[in-house]
């Protein structure tokens, strides 16, 4: 008798759940909204100048825990668009079959070239369909909704005062040769800019208080008079500020291009 009452009570719970609206999403016809950071599949980006953003530095190939990325480095050549000498990747293959979607390759990319997509690959009929070649990766930028994460955004989230920490490994770290192609021209341009108008980098940099306090305080009119007045000190803060400009100026623009591409 006791079991009978228990069963009735259990049936009551079942009935209550029976009357609730279903939570199942009938997948192929209805696709559940995916959050911004959702990560499946990959894309390579074309940067704001219209050139390939990937400089073939092998950072992602080295950090991949399951070694699914294979890059063929190209010799450094002049960019067709900007005319600056920089590195390129001749071939870029990413094997999704063994990928564990850890997002480490995205985080280490020095030029924000590789990002993840929010739309998965369409199932194919052979294993080769899951191997993303360079053409597929570049096509993904246009065809698929891109995920939120880029190297710049991820690093900024983890370390808001990043300009300070970034300056050290870039100078003496192992990635010197890798980043040299992309960093130096930008840094030079940034330095020239910074020399002309000192307060500008202070605005764009996330935390200028420590690295360059003087330009931040000074009004635009005074900036011309400032460098000769304190001749010994400014080079150091300007150098740091210039380094901050390089990634900071690149970031918002790439973000814009990615948002444009999303249909």
């Amino acid at each position: 008798m006791g079991h009978f009452i228990d069963s009735i009570r259990a049936m009551g719970t079942t009935l209550r759940n029976f009357l609730r609206p279903p939570v199942t999403v009938e997948y192929p016809t209805v696709i559940r909204p995916r959050p911004e950071r959702h990560r499946v599949s990959f894309a390579l980006l074309i940067d704001e100048t219209g050139d390939e953003a990937c400089i073939g530095c092998l950072a992602c190939e080295r950090i991949c825990p399951s070694q699914v990325i294979a890059i063929k480095q190209a010799p450094k050549r002049e960019s067709k668009v900007t005319g600056k000498k920089r590195g390129y990747a001749d071939d870029f293959t990413l094997d999704l079959e063994a990928c564990i979607f850890c997002e480490l390759c995205v985080q280490v990319c020095p030029t924000d070239a590789i990002v993840m997509c929010r739309e998965p690959e369409v199932p194919g009929f052979c294993r080769e369909d899951l191997v993303l070649t360079m053409d597929k990766l570049y096509a993904n930028q246009k065809d698929k909704a891109l995920s939120w994460g880029t190297a710049g955004k991820l690093l900024e989230m983890q370390d808001p005062a990043r300009g300070k920490a970034e300056a050290k490994p870039a100078e003496g770290g192992e990635d010197k040769s890798a980043e040299a192609g992309a960093e130096k021209p930008k840094a030079k341009a940034g330095k020239a800019k910074a020399a002309k108008s000192a307060p500008e980098p202070a605005k764009s940099a996330p935390e200028p208080a420590k690295s360059a306090p003087e330009p931040a305080v000074s009004a635009p009119g005074q900036s011309a008079a400032l460098p000769p007045a304190t001749d010994a000190k400014p080079p150091a803060p300007v150098e740091v500020a210039a380094k901050e400009v390089a990634p900071a100026s690149g970031l918002p623009q790439t973000a814009e291009t990615t948002t444009k591409e999303i249909p």
């Binding site: 009570r9 259990a10 079942t14 950071r37 950090i63 825990p65 564990i100 850890c102 370390d159 808001p160």
Partner: protein, 395 residues
């Protein structure tokens, strides 16, 4: 004490009654059996329907993770250990990073510690929900079709996975922890969605109990089945809900606080009896307790950085020349420990040896003591109540 020692030396003490051994029927339970929670094999020696000897056989899911970690660098290990305990990957990530942080002597920022605590407790809830569902499946049709409990639990577990997905972008293998903190910060509206998900789960817990704990059939299937003595459990190295169900009040969250557990009081659930019933009671009480902790912490997350160390930028970025450390945390299944000896790889970028102490492995060592004397149908219930995850047992 001497009694326990005798038990340890010969778990198959009932076998003395049966001579010669060849009279017994040998039943291979698993490795393809759906009730073995993965690929786990037991040799059951039966006298009729009664088990007189049980020999667990492990290793069907061995992937060599520890050896693999010796070849990977410190920054690459986090996404790999996600796959150990695939029901609570957050705990694995946290355990391994806690060990590295201890080696390097890094202080984790307060915000990251809060986030880790919230993630750990949410993951514990998800894990216990999955346990309850699969345990109901193990009991089978006895409780009005175990599949309904299973589906109800999975429905609520999905809410938690959605929360994780919003923060980390992945539903399961998150890779959201890094050395020194977290990789992903929470999104602006996340606390609100946590609270609404918790409200749903809290309202559903009485429903689970109406089908399981307050059901007479569930009671009869679990009460007095698989009684584990507290002293024996301690000697076998069993921790977590199984130990607490045996009357030993031990919880690393309270006894050796890590993350932000020193800032919040953890009411440790324990029960007497040590049988499957007590283990169920403890796990459902932990579900409520985790709910309370998350609710208390999610509004109190302090501002500040989420990572106290350089973000990952290079493969060989973290170099630890020497040292060894053991660090432990309370996962959903018990004490998840990591023992690291530093100084391997070229340029000290990899661990020389990395040993993971999984709680499920120790839980399975109780099987030869628990099973003899029970029916074959109870073997499934006892194994289910231990909540083993074979990915973590074999690594």
């Amino acid at each position: 004490m001497s009694v326990v020692k005798a038990k340890r030396q010969n778990p198959h003490f009932r076998l003395d009654l049966y001579e010669p051994e060849a009279d017994l029927m040998v039943l291979n339970f698993g490795p393809q059996h759906p009730s073995t929670h993965g690929v786990f094999r037991m040799q059951l020696h039966l006298d009729g329907e009664k088990i007189v000897k049980a020999v667990p056989d492990l290793g069907y899911l061995h992937r060599g993770v520890e050896k693999l970690c010796e070849r990977l660098t410190y920054v690459q290990i986090t996404p790999i250990v996600d796959k150990n305990d695939y029901v609570s990957p957050m705990h694995n990530e946290q355990a391994i990073n806690m060990a590295f942080e201890k080696l390097l002597g890094i202080e984790v920022p307060r915000r990251a510690r809060y986030l880790r605590t919230i993630f750990a407790e949410l993951q514990r809830m998800a894990s216990h929900l999955l346990w309850l569902g699969t345990f109901a499946l193990d009991l089978g049709g006895a409780i009005g079709g175990g599949a309904s409990v299973f589906l109800h639990c999975f429905r609520e577990r999905e809410l938690i996975l959605d929360l994780f997905e919003e923060v980390t972008g992945a539903r399961f293998h998150y890779n959201t922890h890094t050395i020194g903190g977290n990789r992903h910060d929470i999104t602006p509206g996340w606390a609100q969605s946590v609270k609404s998900a918790l409200a749903v789960i809290e309202s559903r817990i009485p429903e689970y109990e109406s089908i399981t704990l307050s059901n007479g059939i569930f009671f009869e299937r679990t009460k007095g089945i698989g009684v584990l003595d507290g002293e024996l459990a301690l000697e076998l190295g069993i921790t977590g809900p199984i130990l607490r169900a045996s009357g030993v009040d031990h919880d690393l969250r309270r006894d050796a606080p890590y993350h932000a557990y020193d800032e919040i009081e953890v009411k440790v659930a324990s029960a007497e009896g040590g049988d499957c019933w007590a283990r169920s009671v403890v796990r459902l009480a932990e579900l409520r307790e985790s709910l309370r902790i998350v609710r208390a912490l999610v509004d109190a997350v302090p501002e500040g950085p989420i990572c106290g160390y350089k973000p990952i930028k290079l493969v060989g970025q973290v170099k630890i020349p020497s040292g060894q450390v053991y660090s432990a945390m309370e996962s959903s299944r018990g004490e998840l420990g990591t023992y690291v000896i530093a100084g391997g790889g070229e340029g000290n970028v990899s661990p020389y040896r990395l040993k993971i102490r999984p709680p499920s492995f120790h839980a399975l060592s109780a099987l030869p003591y628990l099973l003899p004397g029970h029916m074959v149908a109870d073997a499934v219930v006892i194994l289910g109540s231990l909540d083993p995850i074979m990915g973590e047992v074999d690594r």
